[in-house]
Each structure stands twice: as structure tokens, then as C-alpha cells.
Amino acid sequence: MRFNAASIWLAAGAAVFLAAGLSDRAQQLPVGHATDFTTISYFEPPHDQQVKMKLTGAEAQPLPGGLLDVKQLRVETFGLDGKTQVVVRAPQCTYAPLDGVANSAGHMELQSGDGKFHVQGEGFLWRQTASSLTISNHVQTVIDMPGAALNGT
């Protein structure tokens, strides 16, 4: 499955991205920042009214190359039934909105919607369109699952 081509930006707070420094292409440093922002992706038709992924951040600071330095990243994915599948959290990351890629050398956590699968590690790469996550270091997973049923002899 693929995401819709366009993601919709919802700015709950002030979202102002102003390009500056155009005289120096290598130093196109946008100024301004967004707070409490959300970006949403939908399933493809015929489920194009249903949210597939929601990405939120407490703060986004523009970086060169159209990147964003995001604080308190939270990515939530949903199934067609509307239930949360996974939630990914990171205190800080670099997000490329056009590519749908987020990465960081710092800490991250992933938890399943039912809370029974939890992963954390250091350093990650999140590919939004592929719904894939790579954790680079110190991966720790805890799976809380029901006990195995045992047969009689």
C-alpha cells in the first residue's frame, strides 16, 4: 500500500516557514518555526477517507534543504478498522516532509496499539511511505504475550 501523494498539513499552532538567504543557494536558511503541528496521510481509494498515519510534533525548526528539526516527534499508524497499530516517539529528529523520512541519532520508542509490544533504541530511520523503521543501536524489545496453551500428555 502506498500513501496518498499529498499529505495534509494541519497547523494547530503558528506555522510559518519563510525562506531567506536566497542570495546564497547553499545557505537557504528558512526562518520561523511551527509548534504543535500535525501531518496526516490517508489510505488509497476506496479507503481514502481513512487516516493511515498521523505525525505530530511539539516544535519544528526549519533546516537547510527543506528539512525540519522536530521536537517530541510522535508517529501513529492506523489500520483500516481505525485502531492504532503502532506509535513511534522520539524526543528529537530530522524530518524531510517531501520524502516522508525521519531520522535521528537519539533515542526512540515504538509501541503497538495494544501496548503489548514495545521497542526502544538509539538512532533510527523512519520511512513513512514504506512504513519501515530501522533502529541502529541498542535495540531492546519487550513482548507481553499470552502464555502458551499446553496440551495433555
Binding site: 497499530q85 535495540v139 524489545t141 499470552p146 496453551a149 500428555t153
Partner: protein
């Protein structure tokens, strides 16, 4: 296919080496409730594909649950959904499994590959670990080589194919040692 079942009572004195051409099944212990608790997986790195609900752990992989400890270099896990039990796990390269049965007897298994499968069909639980790639299982009393080697966790039983068995001398005049 004829199977021989030896149930916790085979006594061996001195060093014995036996090669068998028939499948062999050894019961480790009577099935009993296993200790409950979460399963932990640690590794150097990991990749998760959330579309197919699969995780691939790479480098110094350590799996610990209340009754088993597993190490390997590469582990593929079909991620459970909706609180389900783990259903399929593949461990590859330098696989080492250690566990202790309800009597406190320790087992040590090594192989190149191990495949865990869990399935419940018509209320019957099938939970197996299939070891391939020169698998060896060691206990205090014996060492068994078999290709493949299947650990039936639901029934606490090992199944061997054309196994080679080495029984260890305990060096005492006490009760005959158990073969698993």
C-alpha cells in the same frame, strides 16, 4: 515412522556412544505450566516492516523469556498482533539455546538455524523449535547429535533423526543418571 520413546529412566554407566538409524523421541519432562512473563529481545540493530508486521534483529541477538535464553546473530520475528502469541521466529547463525526444565535440569542446544512455530488448531497447541545445521543438545548426562532436531515445547519432547548419542559418566555410585 516408528519412534522410540525413552521417558526419564534410561540409566547409563560409563561412557556410551550410540548411533541410531531410527527417529528417536525423548521426553524432557511432563508438560506443566511454564512460568509466565514477557519475552525480551535485544540486538545491535533492527529493521521493522510495519506493513507485513515483521522485525529483523541483527547482531548479538539475545532473546530471553521466563524459561528460555537464546542467542544468535540474526533473528526474524513475525510480530504478534492484537495480543496474539508469537507465531513464527527464525534464528540464524551461531544459534545457542539454554533452558531448564521443571526439575531444574539444564539443556544446552547449538545449531546454525532454529525455527520456532506456534499454532493452535482445534484447541491443540503445536509449539515446536526445529534445529538444523549440525544441531547438538547437551545435558548433564548426555550429548545428542541429530539432523534435524525438533524440540516440541508443547509436549516437552525432543525428536531426533538418526541421532548419535554420547552418555556421560557421572563418576559416582549413586542412582543411575537420567537420559534427559
Amino acid at each position: 515412522m516408528k519412534k522410540i520413546i525413552i521417558i526419564l529412566m534410561a540409566g547409563w554407566c560409563g561412557l556410551a556412544v550410540a548411533q541410531m538409524n531410527t527417529p528417536l523421541s525423548l521426553r524432557i519432562n511432563a508438560p506443566a505450566a511454564r512460568p509466565q512473563g514477557p519475552t525480551q529481545i535485544n540486538s545491535d540493530a533492527a529493521d521493522f516492516d510495519l506493513n507485513i508486521h515483521q522485525g529483523i534483529y541483527r547482531g548479538h541477538v539475545l532473546v530471553v523469556d521466563p524459561s528460555v535464553r537464546l542467542t544468535c546473530e540474526w533473528l526474524v520475528v513475525d510480530l504478534p498482533q492484537g495480543g496474539e502469541h508469537l507465531s513464527h521466529v527464525v534464528a540464524v547463525t551461531n544459534v545457542v539455546v539454554d533452558f531448564t526444565n521443571q526439575n531444574g535440569e539444564k539443556y544446552h542446544v547449538t545449531s546454525a538455524k532454529a525455527v520456532y512455530d506456534y499454532k493452535v488448531v482445534n484447541t491443540v497447541t503445536n509449539e515446536t523449535v526445529t534445529f538444523t545445521g549440525k544441531p547438538v543438545v547437551e545435558s548433564a548426562t548426555s550429548t545428542i547429535y541429530s539432523e534435524p532436531m525438533v524440540w516440541d515445547r508443547a509436549r516437552n519432547r525432543f525428536s531426533f533423526t538418526e541421532p548419535t548419542m554420547i552418555s556421560h559418566d557421572t563418576g559416582t555410585n549413586g542412582p543411575a543418571p537420567k537420559l534427559f
